[in-house]
């Protein structure tokens, strides 16, 4: 894990349409932002993967595949915390309130949420009217 610690908070904001073609460019921009914040290459990749999974979940579930709906991503680095907030205006289904199913690697599904839970230090879904705000936090500290 990288240990450099920039002195001042940094913030970026991206507004995209819910088109899957936007996922990779957004992921790469967030990986670059995480690198600027001092995260090492492995951590940047994990942060990018979580952004990918969160946005893909919004497209597939909150917007049910619609490609023209808004997604707003805000990333803020306040050392040591990188907070990534992703807002959608979709159906508002809260993953935390869905029945908990034990993850089964031999059945499709569940990997995206597994990534968020394993690779982020904190994941919070905050229902909005309408839609959802997901706040993911990853700290610039050594992970076990």
């Amino acid at each position: 894990m990288g240990r450099s610690s920039p002195a001042s908070p940094r913030r970026v904001e991206y507004r995209i349409a819910s088109d899957p073609a936007n996922i990779a460019p957004l992921r790469r921009m967030m990986e670059a932002f995480a690198a600027e914040c001092g995260f090492d290459a492995d951590a940047c990749g994990e942060i990018g993967l979580c952004v990918n999974e969160a946005v893909a979940n919004i497209i597939r579930h909150a917007y049910e595949g619609a490609r023209d709906r808004p997604i707003l991503l805000t990333a803020e680095f306040d050392p040591p915390a990188l907070r990534i907030s992703i807002r959608d205006w979709g159906n508002g289904v809260n993953p935390d309130e869905l029945p908990e199913e034990q993850y089964n690697p031999a059945a499709p599904g569940g990997v995206g949420m597994l990534c968020l839970r394993l690779l982020m230090d904190k994941v919070v879904f905050m229902p909005q009217q309408p839609g959802m705000l997901l706040v993911m936090t990853r700290n610039l500290t050594e992970r076990p």
Partner: protein
């Protein structure tokens, strides 16, 4: 932000007896995993292989939507009958998170699986 083209990650297909060898290339996410799903499903339906070898050595990145396709193919061909060839570190990392290294065979080279 520039929209990325939806390229099919499946580049070449070769049959060797009952084994189907599929070479894939490029990043795979929700943008192109649906076309990967369609192509692989058609190939498995047409060739009815007893084993599928997916060469992912030229796939630098995949997300959970690609993993879901791999799992579905495994369910059609049978557990233990899908081989992932030479996954790059980021792909291998996701396979480990998803614990797919427990249900797929992962090989370093084609010679290793002969």
């Amino acid at each position: 932000m520039t929209l990325e083209q939806r390229a099919n990650p499946i580049k070449t297909v070769r049959q060797d007896g009952q084994t189907l060898l599929v070479a894939m290339e490029g990043e795979i996410d929700l943008n192109n995993s649906p076309v990967m799903h369609t192509t692989l499903s058609d190939l498995v339906a047409r060739h009815r292989p007893s084993r599928v070898v997916l060469d992912v050595s030229r796939v630098p990145y995949m997300d959970s939507s690609a993993v879901a396709v791999l799992v579905e193919i495994m369910r059609r061909v049978g557990r233990g009958n899908v081989v992932l060839l030479s996954p790059q570190p980021r792909v291998r990392g996701l396979l480990e998170i998803a614990r797919l290294d427990t249900i797929f065979r992962i090989a370093a080279s084609e010679q290793e699986i002969r």
